[in-house]
């Protein structure tokens, strides 16, 4: 695990990856095992119909909410899964370059014959690997939960929703990595990435009810992540490509700026 920067970075975050994976499986199980209770509850549809618009924006309409995919869409993909994944990737992204710099280990790493580009790319790859492990864990939790609870769930839809979640995680994590690589400041890296996530979430949910703000949802990463209700309608290639493009740009900017700036000591 000390063969290169990529493996060393994974080695450093192995505990974090382990705990977040356990958490991801648990959430997947929890939501799916809870579903039958909602499905079988009487009067639930009426209850949802009476909710204010802002809350409906979050959980969708009653008819959809009581289907397995609709329930997962509301309970898993609109908030909980992005929160878990987002927290993990932002912390990993902050640590990648700015974290090493602030703990003064970057000089010594750079004293080795390795390009800065290679460091950024290996760190990014390690982040994406951790993210992939979490998303797979979540898939395992959801799918096994649906089997245990004994209801039909679209595996294709679930997988596609998780692919979209992966893209969202990549965007948030790589923005944190990129801001850290550009500025060398860990707090700023985490702050900006978290702001992109939180503001994106608000614009696509509660604030979308405000008519004035509705057009602004196009700048929200959550819009591209799941406005399409991926688990129900399948992945939207244009939306998915947008997320991939943002992630790629974040890495390109990180390499470009990190190669050209002074490293703090």
């Amino acid at each position: 695990m000390l063969r290169n920067v990529y493996l060393k970075t994974l080695r450093d975050s192995k505990k974090s990856i382990l705990f977040y994976s356990i958490g991801s499986i648990a959430i997947g199980l929890y939501v799916t095992l809870f579903y039958p209770t909602i499905r079988d509850a009487t009067g639930f549809a009426e209850f949802i119909e009476q909710l204010p618009e802002t809350l409906k924006a979050l959980i969708g309409d009653a008819e959809t909410y009581t289907t397995a995919e609709g329930f997962l869409n509301a309970e898993m993909f609109s908030f909980m899964a992005p929160l878990v994944i987002g927290t993990f990737v932002i912390i990993a992204g902050m640590a990648a370059i700015a974290g090493e710099e602030e703990s003064h280990t970057l000089d010594q790493l750079l004293a080795n014959p390795i390009t800065r580009q290679s460091i950024v790319l290996q760190k990014a790859a390690a982040l994406l690997t951790g993210l992939l492990i979490l998303v797979v864990a979540m898939w395992i939790g959801i799918v096994s939960g649906s089997k245990i609870a004994g209801f039909d769930l679209s595996i294709t839809g679930t997988t596609q929703a998780l692919v979209s979640l992966f893209a969202l995680g990549a965007v948030l994590g790589l923005i944190a990595l990129s801001v850290g690589a550009v500025t060398g400041r860990k707090g700023l890296a985490g702050g900006i990435a978290a702001a992109v996530g939180v503001v994106g979430f608000l614009l696509d949910t509660f604030l979308s009810v405000v008519e004035l703000l509705d057009p602004a949802r196009f700048i929200s990463v959550f819009y591209y992540f799941n406005n399409n209700d991926v688990i129900i309608n399948g992945i939207n290639i244009a939306h998915f490509s947008t997320l991939v493009a943002i992630a790629v740009i974040a890495v390109v900017v990180a390499v470009w700026r990190f190669e050209r700036r002074d490293v703090f000591n």
Partner: protein, 307 residues
């Protein structure tokens, strides 16, 4: 003086500004291949700034540095492939054991731990402990081991003996001498003057970012001041010694002369031999006293006849 014509490090007008603050100003340096070069100056003088530019951690505001024949900006990886580096304060991954750290760096360099183990044994370093648990001195040892372990052509050592006890300092000096025998170049920064005096061939003195002078240690020593105290069998006159070559600060009290001599004390001894000499004492010439004048801020009229 040296036979080797090639330069290990050359800088041309190397300048670094941190905003308004100047880190290094128009530094022109030539470190010859195979020599031990000391960069000497008080803290904050620009030693570390220069070193970090050699390794491309920071970029010159203007000017350039060529290390081992490679441009510090364009071919930094080539430079770092053949350079061992020890920073002023060796900070690294606290949670790794010393062995893991050395393994990681050896992997990044495509080397093995053979030399590292030998060095660790020599410095009596326990490799199984975590970096974060090591004392400052032991951490510095890990730093030395990682700098030397790839057997690089050039070693850049920033304040290398900080935190080492005298015994280990001696061991470090031996190590440096061995490296020199195998043709290595060493670039050592220090603010401890006696340290560079022992191991360096030449020293450069840097102050407030500017390289003030570069001299052979031997030449500096020639200019070194010696304090001499002679007790005579009979009464002597100050005027007997006032005109002697190199002698200043003459003080005579009865049978006793104290004075300061620049360079060789030969003339003084010859003058003294006209009298009966009972006792002679001389203070070890230290470079400290020579350098003191470079350090003390006396305007712009410094650099006494640079050789």
């Amino acid at each position: 003086m040296q036979e080797t014509g090639t330069a290990a490090i050359t800088t041309a007008g190397l300048t670094k500004f941190y905003g308004e603050h100047k880190g290094a100003l128009d530094v022109n340096l030539d470190v010859r291949e195979g020599e031990v070069f000391g960069l000497l100056g008080p803290n904050g003088a620009g030693k570390t700034t220069c070193i970090r530019m050699f390794l491309d951690f920071i970029r010159p505001t203007s000017g350039s540095a060529t290390v081992l024949g490679f441009d510090s900006r364009a071919d930094s990886v080539e430079i770092r492939k053949n350079t061992g580096y020890l920073p002023g304060e060796f900070v690294t991954y606290q949670s790794l054991t010393a062995l893991n750290l050395l393994q990681y760096f050896a992997n990044l360099r495509g080397g093995d731990l053979k030399l590292a183990r030998t060095l660790a044994e020599r410095f009596d370093l326990d490799l199984t402990r975590k970096i974060g648990e090591l004392s400052r001195g032991n951490r510095q040892k890990v730093g030395l081991v990682q700098a030397f372990m790839s057997d690089p052509a050039l070693l850049i050592l920033d304040e290398p003996t900080t935190g080492l006890d005298p015994l280990l300092q001696q061991e470090f000096h031996n190590l440096v001498l061995e490296q020199v025998k195998t043709g290595k170049t060493l670039f050592i920064s220090s603010h401890v003057l006696s340290e560079v005096e022992v191991i360096c061939d030449r020293v450069g003195i840097i102050r407030e970012g500017s390289l003030i002078t570069v001299e052979e240690v031997a030449a500096l020593r020639e200019r070194a001041l010696t304090r001499v105290d002679i007790e005579f069998g009979d009464a002597v006159l100050a005027s007997d010694f006032a005109g002697v070559e190199g002698v200043v600060d003459v003080k005579v009290t009865d049978h006793r002369l104290t004075c300061t001599v620049t360079g060789s004390i030969d003339s003084l001894i010859k003058a003294a031999s006209k009298h009966t000499v009972n006792k002679i004492q001389s203070a070890q010439p230290g470079l400290e006293e020579v350098f003191l004048e470079f350090y003390t801020d006396h305007g712009d009229q410094e650099s006494p006849d640079v050789a």
